[in-house]
Amino acid sequence: MKLLKLVPDNTNVKFLRWRLPFYIISLILMAASWGAVLTNGLNLGVDFVGGQMIRATFVESTEAPVAELRDDIAGLGYGAPIIQRFGQPNEVSIRMRLPEGKDAVQVKDLADQMTNAIVGEMEANYPGVRIDGVDSVSGKVSSELFETGMLALLAAMIAIAIYIWVRFEWQFGVGALFALVHDVTLTLGLFALTQMEFDLNIVAAILAIIGYSLNDTIVVYDRVRENLKKYRKMPMEELLDLSVNETLPRTIMTSMTTLMVLLALMFLGPATTFGFAAAIAFGIFVGTYSSIYMAAPILIWLKVNSNSFVPQESATDRQEKIARGEI
């Protein structure tokens, strides 16, 4: 049987030759992402800002009447709703801000009344509408969810960088962390730009991206470490190119297989996982790119060389080296 080969044998692409322009492009993209986050803001779901969210399916039509629905609900006097398509064209999510009230109990009562009014209005005006779910999150809980979500992201990134530092060398830890910051930033930028809803599921998606991107980075770094021991005299740029090329078949194969499942989940899976799967699919592109163009070149600039993995010198040697300013 003739087997499939995605990358021909002995492929040798000079990836690292273009490292400077790609770095500049990436830095610009990162700045643009922050710009988008700051100007557009993230379209935070009720998980993070509190409020009421009603999900509904218009069973009998192919497309949800978003504009009419917006007018109808705004006409109820509870303020303007944020209505978004959600998965299929006939599925929508309707978000409302929590009404003002003197205390939390009253706010909850008013919010319930509001939800009942909206659901009543929809059921009266749109036959064949199915209410799929109602989420109601208080301001207190939402700010907690936001804080713990961000904390989880930060803690994961730092813990991972420390692990890589311990397993490899500090330069690799810095490189991996930088690649992660790059991936997370661009993903946030995507969400700011497209205004897809950013909720707890997306935080989980970003953590999955971190895991995947890191997986990629580690595979490249592992090969770099191996080659550094094997080819002591090879210039760093050439060695990085060799390592990236050697791991290229694996990189492409793994990205392809994971993307296959994600695409299936995006287009065949339930509406609630669309944003989640889209985020991870995007993250896989960015993560693969960052392992090659962000994580690898940084090793040159941080002056990794074949001495980095020479069997460890004794403590006194090390202190002498520190005294001579070599470390």
Binding site: M1, L3, L4, K5, L6, T57, A104, V105, K108, D112, I131, D132, G133, V134, D135, S136, V137, S138, V141, G149, A152, A155, A159, Y163, I164, R167, L200, N201, V203, A204, A205, L207, A208, I210, G211, Y212, L214, N215, I218, V219, D222, R223, E226, T247, P249, R250, M253, T254, T257, T258, M260, V261, L262, A264, L265, L268, G269, P270, T273, I280
Partner: protein, 532 residues
């Protein structure tokens, strides 16, 4: 490396088959079939996003515990002093600023009072720490201050009781398999699968159901009450919105009885056919109620529910039978809800809904169907692709993936964890990383063959060299997974559980199992070349 003695093979297959067997009941459930009930059935729990149902997060008002404890202490101090020595008179009682302070009027009795009160401050626990500190200032003024330990213990007890009460109330609703868990210091999570209209549930949880009988203070003038002027020793309480009287009424703060010593509460009708709640006291409650009504014949007393007066009837004659009827403008539903609440006991603390999520059962079923379909189609594409790329070695990898998914399901069923929608996405990612392990190994074997290594050696080097990167990658993923689980909530945790279990099992299936199969192939066929 490629040496697998018989005992090792038996072990590996045993573990794998155990995992697969544990997964079978869950698989049949996901496919919408019934698992024969006579077989053991460790099934995974489906999260509410898949099964449909209501999720409600309740938060307790812990500040309330502080004030309730002060009130209870005040009553206790009075009782203890009265029982010990009725000549000790106290006055100028205040419960402001989170502490109880009062004067002993005769300075010579301060020591005697202290003797009586000191034992009341000891904690229930064995730590010897006190629940309260007592200080005597200015010679006559006692100050009771709750200690941090005592207060925390009280909150803890109140939360435990509240959780029990919530559970009893939901059981009364007769819904299927509710989950009620305490979360953190002051929260309770309630999850009721299959319940898509939580109104009745919310009404039930929102009611504290603290029933009290207090004497009406007849000395208070209606004009004073209207202006909010409180006679000493009394308090002003509003009538409930549905009560037959409107406005407010003054009742004696002390000397009433609590309606918590009940054996039963049922919705019923009075002689006019109006819905009422009939309550039956237990022996002690009945005795207290008899004493109260005997001593106050001809006077009105207030029936108070959660700080609102339901009614204030006259005591026409002593009520000795241990049962009573509560009226208060009820509908059949509200009388029924109150009866349930009273039967299940009062909440020791007010609970408030801070998060509520409801998923319709249609959406849930739809999500499972689509999620499983996506997983099957995506998975099939991956399997085909792996086979086309690595041939025989791809088949080994595919078998490993297949077993991996089953073993993850089995372990989840064994641990009783919950499968959520993000959990299904976790499966997707796990498949991705499990495939990656085999891709790493197979690519490495290809590479080593290209460099001219002989078959067995290439396979050995491939597994050895790839393993390092696989371990590093998986450890970092476990780190991310554990942090997700620790910090995350709800959907994030569901994802983290699958991720963590999946990482462990995928190393087992993708590395160990495939190596065993490859070793078997090499030993049996001794190929001189590999089609990889």
């Amino acid at each position: 490396m490629l040496d697998f003695p018989r005992w090792k093979r038996i072990w590996l297959w045993g573990l794998t088959l155990a995992g697969v067997f544990l997964a079978l009941p869950s698989l049949t459930m996901l496919a919408g079939e019934r698992w024969p009930s006579q077989l053991p059935d460790p099934e995974i729990n489906l999260g509410l996003d898949l099964a449909g149902g209501s999720h409600i997060l309740l938060e307790a008002d812990t500040a309330q515990v502080r004030s309730l404890r002060l009130e209870a202490m005040e009553e206790e101090v009075r009782r203890a002093l009265r029982d010990a020595d009725p000549s000790i008179a106290i006055g100028d009682i205040s419960t402001a600023n989170g502490r109880l302070s009062f004067m002993v009027e005769d300075e010579s009795q301060v020591d005697a009072a202290r003797e009586v009160l000191l034992p009341m401050t000891e904690g229930v626990g064995l730590t010897g720490q006190r629940d309260w500190t007592i200080n005597v200032v200015d010679g006559q003024r006692f100050i009771f201050e709750p200690t941090e330990v005592g207060l925390n213990q009280a909150v803890e007890n109140a939360m435990d009781t509240a959780t029990d009460v919530v559970r009893r109330r939901i059981d009364e609703l007769g819904t299927r398999e509710p989950t009620i868990i305490r979360q953190g210091d002051d929260r309770i999570v309630v999850q009721v699968p299959g319940l898509d209209d939580p109104q009745a549930l919310k009404a039930l949880l929102g009611q504290t159901a603290k029933l009290e009988f207090k004497l009406v203070d007849q000395t208070a003038l209606p004009t004073d009450i209207a202006q909010g002027i409180v006679p000493p020793g009394s308090q002003i309480l509003p009538f409930a919105p549905d009560a037959s009287q409107q406005g407010a009424i003054a009742v004696r703060r002390l000397g009433g009885i609590q309606g918590d010593q009940l054996t039963n509460a049922q919705q019923g009708y009075d002689q006019n056919g109006t819905p009422v709640v009939n309550i039956t006291f237990n022996q002690e409650g009945g005795r207290k109620f008899a004493a109260l009504t005997t001593a106050n014949v001809g006077k009105p007393f207030a029936i108070i529910l959660d700080g609102e007066v339901l009614s204030a009837p006259n005591i026409n004659e002593p009520i000795l039978g241990g049962s009573a009827q509560i009226s208060g403008g009820f509908s059949v539903d509200s009388a029924n809800a109150l009866a349930i609440s009273l039967r299940s006991g009062a909440l020791p603390i007010d609970l408030q809904i801070v998060e509520e999520r409801t998923v319709g059962p249609d959406l849930g079923a739809d999500s499972i169907r689509k999620g499983v379909l996506a997983l099957m189609i995506g998975g099939a594409a991956v399997l085909a692709f792996m086979f086309a790329t690595y041939g025989r070695f791809g088949l080994y990898a595919n078998a490993a993936i297949f077993l991996n998914v089953l073993i993850i399901l089995g372990i989840m069923a064994l641990l009783g964890t919950t499968l959520t929608l993000p959990g299904i996405a976790g499966f997707v990612l796990t498949i991705g990383t499990a495939v990656d392990a085999n891709v790493l190994i197979n690519e490495r074997i290809r590479e080593e063959r290209r460099r001219g290594r002989r078959v067995v050696q290439a396979v050995e080097v491939g597994y050895r060299e790839a393993q390092r990167a696989i371990i590093d990658a998986n450890v970092t993923n476990v780190i991310a997974g554990v942090l997700l689980f620790l910090f995350g909530s709800g959907p994030i945790r569901g994802f983290a559980i699958v991720l963590i279990i999946g990482i462990v099992t995928s190393v087992f299936t993708a590395v160990t199992m495939t190596r065993m199969w490859v070793a078997g192939y090499l030993r049996k066929h001794r190929p001189s070349d590999l089609n990889i």
